[in-house]
């Protein structure tokens, strides 16, 4: 028996990004909600990590690898509709790529955009937030007390929206794994996915490691500038 061909879908940087984000956002949520004063120190550090990852991801979305690019997974609403209609079709892996997407699916693409947007608003409002006790974001001096109150309120609000979106994301993953029998968790770990026969000619996604390192260094430096140089 010939071993089925495994194709690289997710490059290394995108996977590292994904799982670091999982760890750091969980840390942010846990520490933020527990609200203890010691936890809040960790909250800020992990929040900066999230910010660095997001800045990296925004750049990676333009010059990164194939399936990580925004232009590859933000598609017309019509295709989202087509895709949703095809879900009930058991032979959909024989359908054109519109209905058996290799990277993010058409609906998932919008979920990624929503996730990045919410996380950005979360991290950016955090920079101006304060608990009026012991913790304040490093850019709080750029806004008035009232404005900081408002931004802190938005920080709380978007954390709730974020938890909703994360729940939705997990639900969608479960639907793929269990109902649609579409293995998507393992490929996000190993990068490889066993594709239907008709995709036999699809080539492996390029990792572009050098590019990823340069971009991530740039992102980390920007965060350093925000939290240390711009601090007062």
């Amino acid at each position: 028996m010939v071993k089925p061909k495994m194709t690289v879908i997710w490059d290394l940087a995108t996977r590292l990004f994904h799982w670091s984000l999982v760890i750091l956002v969980s840390t942010c949520l846990y520490t933020g909600l527990s609200g203890g004063l010691d936890e809040m120190d960790l909250h800020m550090v992990s929040g900066y990590g999230v910010l660095a990852l997001l800045i990296f991801r925004l750049m990676w979305g333009f010059i990164g690898s194939k399936h990580a690019r925004f232009l590859s997974f933000i598609v017309s609403p019509h295709r989202v509709w087509q895709y949703l209609r095809s879900l009930g079709n058991p032979s959909r892996h024989k359908q054109p790529e519109a209905e058996y997407p290799l990277g993010h699916n058409p609906l998932g693409g919008y979920a990624i955009v929503a996730m990045i947007f919410l996380l950005l608003s979360q991290a950016v409002t955090g920079l101006f937030a304060s608990d009026d006790i012991f913790i304040e974001g490093p850019l709080i001096h750029l806004v008035s007390y009232e404005q900081s109150r408002t931004l802190t309120g938005l920080h709380h609000l978007s954390s709730k929206l974020l938890m909703g979106l994360i729940a939705l994301h997990l639900l969608a993953v479960a639907v793929h794994e269990i109902l649609l029998k579409d293995r998507i968790v393992w490929p996000m770990i190993t990068g490889r996915k066993q594709l239907p026969e008709k995709f036999a000619t699809v080539t492996d996604t390029q990792h572009k490691p050098l590019m990823a390192i340069v971009l991530f260094t740039t992102a980390s430096l920007s965060v350093y500038v925000i939290v240390d140089v711009l601090w007062w």
């Binding site: 609200g35 203890g36 004063l37 010691d38 608990d131 009026d132 006790i133 012991f134 109150r149 408002t150 802190t152 309120g153 709380h156």
Partner: protein, 168 residues
Amino acid sequence: MTYPFSPEWKLIHFFGAMSRVTTMKVIRLMTSLLLGSAVLIASANPEGEARYRQGVMTSVGGHMTAISMIMRQGIHRDSLKFHADALAALAKKSQSIYPEGSNVGRSEALPAIWEKPDAFRKATQRFIDASEAFAEAADSGDQGAVGQALRGLGGSCKGCHDDFRAKS
């Protein structure tokens, strides 16, 4: 059918009750009216009271910011005791800055302060105790004790803000 609820019945009941009013009851009524107006006069300036309270709280916050910089940046260590004492003094004030009816204008004081006076008193007492413990720790100079007491103090702020201050 209308008997217990009719206006006539209420009138009859009222006069019946009146005729049984004793001198004691009149006196009690007068006293409570007097006390009531005394409370009204005490908070006759609710806007001023609210702003005053915010001023006190801003001072509390200011000392906390200073303490935070001492602890995090390691500067002005010899002023720790000063800020701790100031906080302890301000904490003692915190029971008298909530006259009834003073959650007006831009005040973020929640009605729960007056609806649950016992819980609120506990919150102010916790603040007083925590600030005294912190002042003692600052006096001792023991870094571990200072950190521990500061956590307790911050917890007392947070506990009260969670229950009695409007969310941002």
